[in-house]
Amino acid sequence: MTSQTLGNYAERAGKCEYLTLAFSPLSAPLRTRWRNNGLSADFLGDYVTTFLPTKGSVAAAESRQKEIRHAVTYIANELLENAMKYHERDVDIPIGIHLELTSDRITVSVSNGISLGQAQRYKTFVERLLEGDAGDLLLRQQEESARCNESATSCLGLLTVISDYDAQLGWRFDVHPAQSEVMTVTTSAVLPLKDAPGASA
C-alpha cells in the first residue's frame, strides 16, 4: 500500500480559486524561520478575503470577512507550525501549503516529510482523535499538560482547529516514491462557508 487516508481527507477540488506555497526545508534552522509561519498564515488569511462575496450590509460583510480571515490564518498557522516541527530533517521534500476556495468551503492543506516511525505515531494520535470528541480530548490534554509539561502538548493545535473552528480534518499518508523510509503526510482542514449560496443552514 503506497497511500492511506484517514478522517475526512479533502482531495483537491479541481477547477476553483487556489494558491500554493512551497518552502525549502533545509535552508535555515526552525528557530530562524519560525516567524515565517505567521507571515505566511497572515498572507493566506488576507488573500482569501478577495474572493469572498460581499452581500448584505457593509458591516455584516466586514464582520464575516474578519471571521473567515482569522479562521484561515489560525488554521494555516497551526498546520504550518506542525509541519515545520515534525518535518523529517535531511530529507529534501518541500513543506507545502495549499489553499482552495469553492462556493461553499475553504480548504487549507499542508504537507511535509516524516519518518515511518513518526508516521505511525501520528496515525495513532489521529485514530484516537477520530474516536472521541475533540473538545473533551482538548480538555484532557490541557489538564495532562499542566501536570507533566511538554509531552502532552503535541497536536493540541489540531484539537483546537476542530473544536473552536468547526473544521473537518483529514490526513493522507504517501510513501515517498524514491525513499521508502520516508512518507509525505498531508493534513487537510475544510472550513464550511455556512452562509454560502446553496449551503445548508
Binding site: L30, R31, W34, R35, N37, G38, K66, E67, H70, A71, T73, Y74, N77, E78, E81, K85, G135, L138, L139, Q142, E143, S145, A146, N149, E150, T153, L156, G157, T160, S163, D164, Y165
Partner: protein, 115 residues
Amino acid sequence: MRNINGETFEIRLEEDNSAVIFKGALRLNGMEDYAPILELLKETLIHPVASIVLDLRELDFLNSSGITMFSRFVIEARDRVGIDLQVLASETVPWHARSLKNLQRLMPALNIRLT
C-alpha cells in the same frame, strides 16, 4: 511593573501584580518559549490581590501553544483556594469568542467579560 516585549507583542505586569495586559500577536514556538510569560503570569498568584485581571482585549492573535500557556495558568489559579480571576476580552477579536470558553471549562469560576 515588568514587561516582556517581542517583535509582534507587548506584555505588561502591573506594579501591584493585579493585572497582566497583553497586546499584539503571540505565536511563539512551544511551551519552552512561553515559559517566561507563564512565569510572569504566575507572579500574580504569589500574593494574590482580591481580583486578578488578564486583559486580552488587544491580543489579536494567539497560537495553540499560547492557549496551552493560558490553560496551565488557569489550572494553577483554579487549584489554589480563593483566587478570583477575570479575563477582559473583546467581541471584535475573533479568537476570543471561539477559544476562551475552553478556559472556562477548565475553571468554571473564571469570569470572562466580553466587551
